[in-house]
Each structure stands twice: as structure tokens, then as C-alpha cells.
Symmetry: C2
Subunit: 465 residues, 2 copies
């Protein structure tokens, strides 16, 4: 039963598991105490910090263990923003950051700060020049992920860090998706990572703050972890996390090479096997183990269930696992099709056979969902009649229907109007804003634009083919 959602959480690495069990008996006491159990715990913690600092590429004194990657990001951002309060209260983030960074930015805005969100290209990558232009005299902090969690696109971290350094702005790097593969390059100031992403246990995050970075921890004081993370140290988990990190790094080069080939195979085959599919994410700058694609006329959640029944665990940026019905902010920022979105992220050790089996199962799973949704098959039939004018010749009422239904209804209705005429789709599903233009570009129809409507919006499409 292959699990293809490593970018969400990786199974515990055997080395981490062993270290966890071994340190349960040695690491439970308070490392601040003077007796032997405390000294033993302190020794384990100190050794783990040294090893982790080496993997991060910082000094042990610059590294704190937090209770999660999310906490590392929240505390890192809050401390760096407060430390630079005199410079100003402006924060720069990329539009495709993990929600924990965006939530920290929202909290900063609620607290009276200002936030600029740097856009990305269709591949999900920021432009260094654009990032540089977002930096202002009152910018206290900039945040950029090392790689995107949904589409696998890597960012030009070293270049952006250099630009930030020149501007005197500290850069916080959310390295959750790359820490298990390699150190973050460049002259960053603050770094956050999460152990369960590299095969460590849950409950451990890393927060590195480079010496010379102005940093003022926020919230109630706590003596532990240089005042940067509150609460009793979870030493067995920390030891396991660091052992897992070292093990992951030792295998990283060979495993990255191997998985990159499997991912390449998926990227190529999926467009051959499944009609109307769009592979998203930067084709060159990407993680070795992640591939994401979107399928026209498919409901992401239904497709996950179909694949789960076939024994494959994958994730989706258009599934409703989160409490909102909005499509993934990442896919939206990239401006790509969000419907029927599937992220395949291979854990270490994934075999070529498992990937082949997935490719064997996928076309059937997609067509099963399309059949249930009565999606139109193939391209829009040619029409000989022609028309012109901007007023809709036909309005499709898709109010109250969730994507991909509005897109399916559009695809069916458009065959009923002459080439050159406009069709309007009324929809109150946020995903339509993304998916109707995406459908137009895939089907070579013309997306005219969006008009306000009493409920939702009217999306106008001119039949071109």
C-alpha cells in the first residue's frame, strides 16, 4: 500500500526510531538539574545540538529546538520582527509560503504591521529582482521558503539572501521541504525546519538565528533553549530527530538521484496516459521527490478517494481536507488549473514498481471520476457558424455548485453557441476564478474576463474553436 505523501509527513526513519527508543531511558530528566540523570540528559541534548548545527550549517549556540516547524516559524518571525522594530514594521513574504508563514504574516498585520506578498511565475518561483524591489527602508524581515510544499519548486535562496544582506534586511528561510536533502545555501539570518518532514518524529522543529541578527523572543519568558522556545525539552525526540537528519543526509545524494528519475517518469507519462492533464511547478528548479498535476473536469477529493481505494495515498491542493473550500493559495498564486489536483511526493525507498503501479491505476481513477461527473470527452467539437459581440449569447447558472462542475457545464454548453459568441458562467465557487481561465487556455478558447454578479461572479468566455 504505497504512501506517496512524504511532503506532508514522512514515516519515521529506522535510524530515528532506534535513537528514539534508545534515548527514552536516558533523556527523560530535566537537563537543567545537577544530578546524574540531569547531566545525562544535558549531554544528550548538547550532542544533538552540535550534530544538528553541523547539518544546518550554523554554530550550536545559534540553534534552538522547538516543538514543531510551525512553532519555529512563528517564534522565528515574531522574534525577528520585534528585534527590528526600530527599522520598521514591514514584512515581505512570497505568495506561495506555507500557511504557517502566511498566518504569521496575517498576525503581524492584525498587530498593525504591513505585509508585501511577492508574486511568483507560473512555475511557482519568485524573481530575485522582484523580491529585491519589495524590500523597503522600513522592512524588518523577509521570508522565503527553500522549496514549495505543494508543487516542489525550489527558490533562488542564495541570491535572495545576498540581496537581503545588501539591503540590511534579515531573511527567514522556511526550510521544511529541503532540510533532509541539503543545507540551505547562502547568507540567511533565520532558518526554520520540521523533523517529521525528513523522517524524524513529530514534536521537533529547528530554529536557527545567526549571530548578529537582532532577535527579541516574544511571549512569556522561558529560560530554556536560549529563551527562544518555551517548555520542557523533549530530549528523546530531539535525539531521534537529529539521528534521522544525519541518516537522511547520508543517503540524500543517491536517493535524490534515484527519486528524480521516478518523478521524471511520472511527469512524462502522466500527460501521455491521462487526457487533459497539466503538470504544474517549475520543470527545472524542483525537489527530487515531488510532482504535482491537475486534471480537468475532476474533483480533487473524489480522485483522492479513488486512488486511496486503489491503495495509493496522495495529497491534493484542491481537496477539502482543510476547513475552507478555497483552492490552494499556491496554485492560485501560480495561476494554474486547480481542479483535480494531485501531489505525489515519494518517500525515501519508493520503488520503480510502485510508481509504475500508480501510473497504471491513475488513468482509470481519473476517468471514473469524470464519468461520475458526466464530464465532456475530448476537445470541443468544431462549429461552422460564427458570431461576434460581447454580450453573452448564453448564461450557464452554476451557482451553489463546486468545481469542477462549473467548468464541466461550461464545456458542455459552449458547443451550443456559434464560434465568436460569448458564454457567461455564473459561479460562487472561488476555484472557478482559477479554473475557467485555465480551461480556456487548455481548450484554446478566449477568456474575456469576470463581471460582478448578484451572487458570485459571471465569467465570460468567447468561443474560438
Amino acid at each position: 500500500m504505497p504512501y506517496f505523501d512524504a511532503a506532508s509527513s514522512a514515516p519515521l526513519h529506522p535510524v530515528a526510531r532506534q535513537a528514539l527508543i534508545a534515548s527514552l531511558d536516558e533523556g527523560w530528566a530535566d537537563p537543567a538539574r545537577l544530578y546524574r540523570e540531569g547531566r545525562r540528559a544535558r549531554m544528550l541534548l548538547d550532542a544533538a545540538r552540535e550534530a544538528a548545527a553541523e547539518a544546518v550549517g550554523c554554530a550550536p549556540g545559534e540553534l534552538s529546538f522547538t516543538s514543531s516547524g510551525t512553532t519555529a516559524v512563528h517564534r522565528g518571525a515574531a522574534g525577528a520582527l520585534a528585534g527590528r522594530r526600530r527599522a520598521g514594521r514591514h514584512l515581505v513574504v512570497s505568495a506561495v509560503e506555507h500557511s504557517c508563514v502566511l498566518h504569521a504574516a496575517d498576525a503581524h498585520e492584525r498587530d498593525g504591521g504591513t505585509v508585501s506578498r511577492v508574486t511568483v511565475d507560473r512555475g511557482g518561483r519568485v524573481a530575485v529582482t522582484e523580491f529585491r524591489e519589495a524590500l523597503r527602508a522600513d522592512t524588518a524581515l523577509a521570508c522565503l521558503q527553500s522549496a514549495n510544499h505543494e508543487v516542489g519548486t525550489t527558490q533562488p535562496i542564495a541570491e535572495v539572501a545576498g540581496t537581503c544582506r545588501e539591503a540590511g534586511v534579515p531573511l527567514l528561510v522556511d526550510a521544511a521541504q529541503t532540510m533532509g536533502w541539503e543545507p540551505v545555501p547562502g547568507d540567511w539570518s533565520v532558518l526554520a525546519a520540521s523533523a517529521h518532514k525528513w523522517g524524524g518524529p513529530a514534536g521537533v522543529g529547528l530554529l536557527a538565528v545567526r549571530r548578529g541578527t537582532r532577535f527579541a523572543p516574544q511571549g512569556p519568558a522561558d529560560e530554556r533553549e536560549s529563551g527562544r522556545a518555551a517548555g520542557f525539552e523533549n530530549i528523546p525526540a530531539v535525539v531521534a530527530a537529529v539521528a534521522g537528519l544525519r541518516a537522511a543526509r547520508a543517503e540524500a545524494d543517491a536517493e535524490a538521484q534515484r527519486l528524480r528519475k521516478l518523478v521524471e517518469r511520472v511527469r512524462t507519462r502522466v500527460t501521455e496516459l491521462v487526457p487533459d492533464v497539466e503538470v504544474v511547478g517549475d520543470p527545472r528548479h524542483r525537489l527530487p521527490h515531488v510532482v504535482t498535476f491537475s486534471c480537468l473536469y475532476v474533483d480533487g477529493e473524489a480522485l483522492l478517494h479513488e486512488l486511496d481505494r486503489a491503495g495509493f495515498s496522495v495529497s491534493s491542493g484542491s481537496s477539502c481536507t482543510s476547513s475552507t473550500l478555497e483552492p490552494s493559495h499556491v496554485l492560485r498564486a501560480m495561476g494554474v488549473l486547480s481542479e483535480g489536483n494531485v501531489r505525489v511526493s515519494l518517500p525515501r525507498g519508493t520503488s520503480a514498481e510502485e510508481v509504475e503501479r500508480f501510473l497504471g491505476v491513475l488513468p482509470g481513477a481519473v476517468s471514473a471520476v469524470r464519468e461520475r461527473l458526466e464530464a465532456p470527452a475530448g476537445p470541443v467539437a468544431r462549429s461552422r457558424a460564427e458570431a461576434s459581440g460581447d454580450e453573452p449569447a448564453l448564461t450557464v447558472d452554476s451557482l451553489g455548485k463546486r468545481c469542477p462542475i462549473p467548468v464541466i457545464e461550461l464545456a458542455k454548453a459552449i458547443t451550443g453557441v456559434p464560434v465568436g459568441s460569448v458564454i457567461a458562467v455564473l459561479s460562487d465557487d472561488e476555484a472557478a476564478r482559477l479554473d475557467i481561465p485555465a480551461w480556456c487556455s487548455m481548450r484554446r478558447q478566449e477568456y474575456v474576463g469576470e463581471r460582478a454578479a448578484e451572487r458570485g461572479a459571471a465569467y465570460l468566455v468567447r468561443r474560438r474553436a
Copy 2:
């Protein structure tokens, strides 16, 4: 090698250990995901929440898992204070709360709120009437621990909770020291606890917020745990924590009865075996497994080392394990002797033989420290000469010396002045403020008071015997 510091951190309960290892393979995936690994993780988490809620005495929907007891207190206090912001910004805490509660209070003050700290009696207990009097029309929240972590005194929680409920003020109970023994009684509103105190793993705290309590989570948003705790759920640790809690509770009655006898034995024997010792904490309202005493003319840290060498791991409220040189805020609030302070907190399963061995070793350890400090032996020798007047007949300069040295110098010098005359001790050690009056009451000398001095303070003592 007996470990007698369970109040600081308890060794992992065998049942918790087993549960942790068993759930490593089942609980690593994201419980928010729709595939089977996610559903399995969700089932484990739901079952753990139900069992924990039963042990706490609340509904599962009222209970969140946090990453530590400290985090539970910090987030619980911040959320309850923000939820009641319209009522006002006044916070009531007892003077003997755990530092994590006091640090939350300090943060609230820095943020513009006001704090009242309710005093305790010499046994460390708050008076219900005094607690009630501290509640005001603008009180947003009151905090009271179920039992004190340093001296083991239990608080009148049910009565205080009733009083708070009448006043319309929510009560937050820090139940870290009692959760493994019994549910917190009474009509509390918010509760915090910490798994590693009851034999669960580190990395798990409980935060219960009773329905009807106004609560506004602070900090960046996070969808997990009802928005009350940020970060990826640590399910294996949560499962282990709850299994450990159930196991601890199942043994609680029998084990409490057994340990209470051993503690009683220490309370009685220590004053018989060691001269000039004061057992501190409420003699009736106390935890079953904790006993704390202070030894005159003894440096707490030196005594810990002495006991550690003899194979016993204990804690001290006057050791310098913390970064400050001040004596414990708990002992100070109680107004008891702080020097040579030792806390013995027995873990489950401690045998009578271990306790006897400790009692065998203790007198030698204390006298070894006293000898090294050249402490005076026995009571002050009788004097026949008499004097009167308030001006010091002699001034002892103990500036720059750490307790117990100032007290030892006082005890030696006082034999050189006539009965009725006053001796002044100059000291800049904060502990002297506590320990010189305590010495006077133990030695039946008269503590006259304190005068400002160029450095530190002058403590005035009239020789009475």
C-alpha cells in the same frame, strides 16, 4: 541509584513506553488527510482525546493537546485573558504559582494589563477569603495551581473555583502536580497539565477550556487542535501520554497511600536526625509524594552535590540551577528558611528501603557541608552580660558572600555581644532577607528589621539568648 525528583520530571511509565513504541508505526501521518494512514492517525488521536477528557473530567471537544504544560499555561492564559478583554485586563495569580504562570503574568503586565499576586500562609496555602477579595469588576482571569511543585502544598481549588464562578471570573488551574493522582475538583474554567510529570513522555501538555468560557486563541492562526495549539500533532507521544495517565490513575489510590507513609517517615525522621532543620509546606494539605525541608548553615547546591555523590537525585529551591541567584519565589512567599533547601519527590514504586538509605545518608551529607562552611555547632551559648539600645554593638560585613555564609557569620558573631544588644549584618545576597529572620525564629533571637545600606542591606538582630 534512587531518583527522588519526580516533581521535576517522572521517568517514563512502562505502559506509556509501550504505547509510544506501538504507535510509532500507526501515528506518524497527518490526521487531517483523507487516506488510510491519515485516517488511522485520526482514529488514534480521537481515541486519545476521549480517554484524556475522561481523566480530566471534561468533554473531548473541550480538550486540546499542546506541546508542553508550559505551552498549555501560556496559551490558556493568553486565550482566556483576550476572551475577557471587555471585562477588563486584571489578572489574579497566587504568589506561589509555577514560573510559567508567573511569566505569563509578567508578559500580561508588559502588555499593559494589571496583576494581583495573592499571598500565602507559612504553609504555602492561599486563603479562600483573600483570593476572593483579590477579584475585581475588571478581573479577566484568576490562576491557581492545584498543588505546589516545590513544597507539595495543595490548594483549596474547589472552594476558590466556586468563589470565582460566583464572581463571574474564569479560573485557570495549573494541575501539573496533581493530574496523575486525581481529577481537579470543582467548577474550574481552564485547566493545564503536563504529561512528563505523570510518567508520560515530554512534548505533551493538556489544555482544557470548558464550554461557555470566553476564549480567543492568540498568536498566528492554526487549524489544528481547535486553534488552541499550533503545529503538527505529535500522535505517538499523545497516545503514550494518555496511556500513562490512565495507568497512573489506576494505581493512584494504592500508591498515594504507600508513598504518603514514606513521606511521613521523612517528615518525622529528618528533624530527629539533622539538627537545625525546618520541614516546610502545609502539614495536612499536601501531595502524597513530596516533602521539602531546609537546613540551617547549608548551601543548597553543595548539599545536592553531596547527595548526588551518595547516589540520591533531589532538587533544591536554593540551588543555583536556575540562572538567577535569588532564592525560590515559593519559599520567599511563604517566608520560610531557604538555605540548605531540599525537595524530595518520590516517583511511583519508590521502596521503603530506598527512603531509609536516604535518611541514613542525609545527616552525614549535611554535616559535611556545614563543616566545610565552618558553621557553628548547636545553639548560641548562654551569656550572662546584658545590654540595651538599638544601635548595633557590632557590624558583620558579609557583602559579596552568598547564603548561608551571612547567617553563619551572624551565628558566630552574636556570641561576642551581650544579651540585649543589637548586631547588624551587611549583606547583598537576596536570600539573607529570608534566612536571617528565619534563623532568629529558630534560635529564639529577635529580628529587629532591615535598614538600607550603601550596598545591599543591614539586617538588625537583638541577642535574646
